[in-house]
Every structure is written in structure tokens, then in C-alpha cells.
Subunit: 446 residues, 2 copies
């Protein structure tokens, strides 16, 4: 009986009990970190605390490295300010966390050519040179991963590029800048002005002393470029995407948006059209979104990415889009991907195509907010111009309690082309009753 | 000059213009589909329409296959009702879409042992035998992918298992059953009763004629088991997770929930605790969630998956969790993953551990709804029992306009252990003023 029972037991081990032992690990991957700032420190901490089984940290590279040294990194790690020393060593993966297009891009090219795989969190560089670097990695027979370059800890790149590989995506949209989302949601919930919400964001460390890149939309735009490459397989350049600042949004706009069942968010959007060759419509701008939508409920400094496909419909990813630890999770996840699937570049990756045109042209209903020195005939004057451009008015709202000398009111428009509307607005802005220029925002219903 | 210009041009091609041609494709992967129902048809359609460049469909297997044949599938595809014929052919990937534990599990084992990779959408099977099949795939040197087995088109498995590989996840939660979400959001928005919302869901094809698996929570539970394996690396069995039906929720509960700033959703939750060996707390039950949270804004039949990690915080994935096309996207995405990274199983995948205990025990604030034959002293009687168990009352709410013979009111409790509360409720339910048993729901604040 005992002799018989043995093989049965060994067979059933596979079936019922989980293997007690981890499978034999491959050789640990040797890792060098370039850039020991906030993200670099988080990555090293996470590597040492949580990922010791797969990876061995061998080098930390930083310019003027001596001032960067910390005592919680093992003595076996070599601190250096020579990138050549790092790249000519026997590391498997070069992790670039220094940021900026130069010299980080040159380091990455050098590392790939030297047969190293590369993981990077560099938004500017991937937005500018992503497809070129992917080609170079393929030619070098090595991996290039940049999951951390957009939306920090949100696995948007892998989710879109691999998890939705089976769909035909045609739209990417989202809340891609945590600073703007913090400011707009603060204005919405407290009635604060843009200036005081910005000040608070700066005091709390959510906004830089110079907030231009966030407020004007340039930061979100770089992320949109990367997501457009990953999801729409379309190569657009940052400078092709128009941006509108959120600083024109005022407390009164949130009150009107609420009456319309909407919230106001900084929306980055890229939409692919393939009717007559590939073209892409894209923008970064404050917009009205339905108050019931997920995008209206992204809290504070979090990010949200939406990808819409022909087959699976709209998919949403949301979480912390910035910060040392969330970004470090994305970096380490990319390292695990190399540990799991090896250093060879993936096959059968669809090409990134350059669209024949890219524009901010967008057909939607619009929200116009006026601040005027009140007098009879204002709405008639505006309506006359709009009707000349074939643009229909949906509603006119005017809240009580504002002075006649600076009276805000809004007009919502039926669906129209932004080019048409742009021409109409030029004319309207020339009328003599304005206290400030008309604020124009699209109303995005899906 | 011309001679000089050439190499410059060829060099700069890499730099500025994207490669016009796709890189040379590997040999196409040969695919067999087992199961030609709703999902099978969507997968075949998508394969033929969108994924022809990487895959060649060679077999469609179904029992009684002759009644399944359609004319839009190329003549080169072989229709068969012999699974052995399929597995002994030269296919690369066996795609199992038949569902059910038996015989699908046996087909998959056979296919793996015969050196085929496997892609499956089989929720029941992966919930029951996922870790065993992953082990078998590893031993067989082939891939097993099951991204379609949970939450349809939402890339939750890859997002959690790969995109968040660098984090230490400790909680998985979500809205995992579209039928229940449809019913609850319908009740919430229209004030409908459970019965009429269910009837409407059935008429629209969102609910089965026998809705037990959805309403009782069994369907969501199987998905929770799979997500717990993928995200928490913990092996739990379906029967270890307690379920509460949503049918006890009434229109009045939504009114009270709204007063508390909450919505009511069917929540599936698993939480890992590692203080003293691995233990898992898990349940599927109707629960109150903040009205401002993303989980309260999942529309109709959509799903939402939340994964919370020690480093990146809470990450959310949302989209269509069922239906032919969304599920087909997940299947094709898994096929692309094999086309991209090859048929070898991944290395360095963390083991799935069996927890020392699994329970529905959960510490939270709670919502209790009573329907009573009104008389003086009811609240005092309830409060006396609660206080004997050391459970604090947070608030008592009673909306006007209900008959004294069947008066609904609610009590919200301060944070307490569900075991304690269960004992108190047994006593409370024995009091003689109830018209129906007390409904108890946790209030989930994060």
C-alpha cells in the first residue's frame, strides 16, 4: 500500500498544494542607477527593501556624487560621477532617473549601444525621442522600458500597449497633471480663486515655485505625446499640440459648470482619425466634463488615463501620477519585466506612424464665459456673430449677485468646429463691452 | 556630393523619420479556438479582422461543430469536434473559451503537456486551479495566460501582476459583477425596488433568467479569488470567502446612504495581513462607499478593480467587465503577449502562497437598517445590546413618511469587529419588534 501511495501523492502535489519553494531564480540582474534625486532615492530604497531577490544594485551615478552619498546603501555599491565607468561595467540594466533631454539621452544611447537594457522615467526625453530610442534598442537587441515616464505609478503604458494590444484604440484622454488637478478641485470645493489655490499648492509642495510648465499645460502635453505613441501608435511632437492655461478659469466658472451638471478639469486629449490617412486631433486645455463621470472624481493630485477602443470601449486607469515612491514602483515594475521576459527586445510590436496632420481642431459643444460692463443688447450682439458663423446657441445662464460693471454670464453652444468658433470669438472679443476676454472651454461628454 | 549625402541620410532615418516598414515579422503563430459561443465568435472575428499579421487561425473546436459553422471564416480553417485532433496538430496556442471546470481543465492540461501555450477566459477554472495550471505551464516550458478570465476587457491581471510588480500590494477591492452594479445603480437613480431593477436587467440581457450566481455574489467571488492570486500572491478558495446577497438592499437604503454621503455597491474585497504569517480577510457583499469615490461612479454594467500597495497607494482600473468584444480584446492581447515575448514561461515570478487563515472578519464602521413595528423603547433596546458588546453608536436616522407598522430607520456604528457585531445582531434579531431582519452593511471609507 505504501509503495502504491507514493506516486499518487507526488502527482497530487501539483494538483492541491502550492509549491513550497520558489522556482530556482535566474542570475540576479546587475543594476546601475543614474541620478540620485527624489525618484532615485525611492528606487534604490525599494530595490534594496523589496527586490533583492532578483536584482543587485552595483552602481549609483550622479554628478558631484560625493555630496549624494548616504549610509543606508550597502558598501558593495560603487558611487561614481563617471557615466562611462558605469556603462563599461558588467551591468545588465542602466536605470536613467536624471531627467532632461541632454545629456540623459546620450547616456541612454551609449548604454543601449553597449548592450545594456535601459529603464527610464524621463518624460521629456521619451516625448521627444521615444520612437528613435525604441528603434535603437531593437537594433541593439536590448530592452528599453519607460513605464515611469508618464503618470508615475499608474501602469498606463503597459495597460494600454500590452493589456489593450488586442483592441484598436482611437482616443486617449485624461487628467495628466496632478498640480492642475489639485488647483482645480480646490477651487471647485472651496470657491477659492486660481491665485490662492495655486499659492496653497505651492505651500504644500504640489506646485513648483515657477508653475508655468504645469499651469500652461506643457507637462501634461509631454505625457500626452508618450501616451499617443503608446496607445494610438502615432508619433506627434509636443509643439504640434496646442495648450490653453488653466489660469483663466475663475471661481464663477465652477458655479456655472455645476448648473450644467459638469466639473472643470485640465483635460489632455488625442483622437485618431483614419478616414483619409492618419490624422490626430489633440489638445491640453481646461474643459467641462460630466459631474457623474470618473474623470470628475479624480482626487487632488491624482491622475487618470482613459483609453477608448473600437472593441472594448472606454478603459480607465487612475492613481498617483507623481512622487518618489509611485514613480519608483513603475521603475521597479519595468525591471521585473526584464527579469521575467529577458533582455531581448519584444517582437511583433506595431510600428509608430507619423500622422499626415496634427491639429487642435475639435468638434464639440462649447462653454463661453463673458465678463461684461452690462448694458442692453449684449446677448443680441454675440448671437448675431455666432449665427453668422452658423453656430447655434444652446443656453444662456446668468447668476444673480454680480455688479453691473463686471457681470459674468455664460452661453453654451451646440456642437461646432473649433476653427469656426475661433473666428467667431475673434470678432466677439472685438466688441466693446468686455471687461476681460471670453473664456472658451469644450464640453466633453464622452 | 550625392555620394556623400547617402550615408548621412541613412543615419538620420533612425533619428528623425519613423521607419516606414514594420520590422520583419516572426513566423505567424498558429491558433486553435476551443468553444465557438459568444466570446469565441468575437475572438475569431477580431483575429481575422485585426490580428492577421501575427496569427493564423487553423482550428475551431466545438462539440457538435457542424451546427456551429459560419461562412465568414476562411475555408483554410479546420472545424472539428475532436480536441485530440487539435492538440496533436502543429498549433502554437490553444485558446480555451468553452468555460466550466470540466472538461476544459483537462483540455488545457493536455495542451500544455503537448507543448502548446494556452490562453483562456475561464473564470471558474482559474479560480479553482490557477496556481496548479501555472505550475504545469512552467514545467511544460510554455505560457499560460488568463487575462480574459476576470473583468473582461479591463487589463487588471497584467496591470496588477506586471504593471504593479514593483509594489507590495495588500488590498484588492472592486465592483466585479456588472449585473449587480446595473441593478444597484438603477435602484439608486430611479428609486426602483430590487425586484423591478432585476426584471429590467433580465429584459435587457444584463442578467440571466436564474440570477443566483450574480445576486448572491458567487460570480464576483470567483473573480476576487483570481485577483487575490494575481495581486496578493495568496491562494484562497472560493468557499473560504463569505458572500451576502444584494437582494436584501431596498430603495430606502439608498435614501439613507445618500444622507450619509454614500452610495451602495456590491463590493468584493480581499486584504492581506502578514503580522503573524499570511492571513487574508475577504468578502463579497453590498457595502456603503463614499459618494465622491470613483467606485461610486462606475456606470451600469461596468466593472472597477482597485489595487492598493504600500508604495504607490491606490490604483484603479475600470471598464467593461464582460461581453463578447471586451473579452475578445483581453484574449487577443494575451495572444499578442505571446507573439511579443515568446512561448517560454516567464522567469522570476513570485510564488503564490497559501494563507494560514482566510476569513470574512472585518473591522469597519457599519450601517444597520431596521424595519420595525413602531413602539417606544426600540432604540433603547438595540442600544443596550450593542453597548453590552462594546459597540458604539455613531448616529440614528429616521426619515419621515413611513407607516408605524413597518417603519424603517438606521443606526450607524463606530468602527467594530464583524464577529462582535454578528453576535450582537443575533441577539438584536431576536427582539420582537422586527418586521424583517436587520440589514447590515460595512461602510468602506478607503
Amino acid at each position: 500500500m505504501a509503495a502504491k501511495a507514493k506516486p499518487v501523492k507526488s502527482k497530487s502535489r501539483v494538483k492541491s498544494a502550492p509549491a513550497k519553494k520558489a522556482p530556482a531564480r535566474e542570475k540576479k540582474l546587475k543594476i546601475a542607477i543614474a541620478g540620485f534625486g527624489t525618484v532615485g532615492r525611492s528606487v534604490v530604497k525599494l530595490l534594496l527593501q523589496e527586490a533583492n531577490d532578483c536584482f543587485e544594485l552595483t552602481h549609483i551615478f550622479n554628478r558631484g556624487v560625493s555630496r549624494k552619498k548616504v549610509d543606508w546603501v550597502p558598501a558593495s555599491v560603487r558611487w561614481t560621477d563617471s557615466v562611462n565607468e558605469v556603462i563599461s561595467s558588467d551591468i545588465d540594466v542602466f536605470v536613467e532617473l536624471a531627467g532632461g533631454v541632454k545629456p540623459a539621452g546620450d547616456w541612454i544611447r551609449k548604454a543601449l549601444r553597449a548592450g545594456k537594457s535601459v529603464v527610464t522615467a524621463n518624460k521629456q526625453l521619451i516625448a521627444e525621442s521615444g520612437p528613435e530610442l525604441v528603434d535603437l534598442a531593437r537594433e541593439s537587441g536590448r530592452r528599453l522600458e519607460y513605464g515611469a515616464s508618464v503618470a508615475g505609478g499608474i501602469p498606463a503604458i503597459i495597460g494600454i500597449q500590452e493589456g489593450l494590444a488586442g483592441d484598436r484604440l482611437y482616443k486617449i484622454a485624461g487628467v495628466l497633471n496632478g498640480t492642475c488637478n489639485y488647483i482645480l478641485t480646490k477651487m471647485e470645493s472651496t470657491g477659492a480663486s486660481f491665485e490662492s489655490a495655486l499659492k496653497e499648492a505651492q505651500d504644500l509642495g504640489f506646485a513648483e515655485a515657477d508653475p508655468t510648465a504645469d499651469v500652461e499645460g506643457y507637462d501634461a502635453r509631454a505625457k500626452l505625446v508618450i501616451l499617443t505613441q503608446a496607445g494610438l501608435r502615432a508619433r506627434v511632437k509636443s509643439e504640434q499640440i496646442p495648450c490653453w492655461p488653466i489660469s483663466a478659469v475663475q471661481a464663477v466658472d465652477f458655479a456655472y459648470a455645476r448648473e450644467l451638471g459638469c466639473a472643470i478639469r485640465q483635460i489632455s486629449l488625442a483622437r485618431k482619425e483614419t478616414d483619409d490617412g492618419l490624422s490626430v486631433r489633440a489638445f491640453v486645455r481646461p474643459a467641462l466634463v460630466p459631474a457623474s463621470s470618473l474623470v470628475a472624481h479624480v482626487e487632488g493630485s491624482k491622475n487618470l488615463v482613459m483609453a477608448t477602443g473600437q472593441y472594448a470601449g472606454q478603459m480607465v486607469f487612475s492613481g498617483f501620477g507623481a512622487g518618489g515612491d509611485p514613480t519608483a514602483v513603475a521603475v521597479i515594475s519595468d525591471l521585473y519585466s526584464i527579469a521575467r521576459s529577458g533582455s531581448k527586445p519584444p517582437s511583433n510590436v506595431p510600428e509608430v506612424e507619423t500622422p499626415k496632420d496634427v491639429s487642435g481642431e475639435f468638434t464639440a459643444p462649447y462653454y463661453l464665459r463673458f465678463v461684461v460692463k452690462d448694458r442692453p443688447g449684449i446677448i443680441a450682439a454675440v448671437a448675431t456673430v455666432l449665427s453668422r458663423y452658423g453656430i447655434g446657441i444652446d443656453a444662456v445662464l446668468q447668476r444673480p449677485g454680480y455688479p453691473h460693471s463686471a457681470l459674468p454670464f455664460i452661453i453654451t453652444l451646440e456642437t461646432c468646429r473649433s476653427a469656426q468658433l475661433g473666428c467667431a470669438l475673434q470678432e466677439i472679443n472685438r466688441l466693446d463691452f468686455h471687461v476681460e476676454p471670453v473664456l472658451c472651454m469644450p464640453i466633453l461628454l464622452d
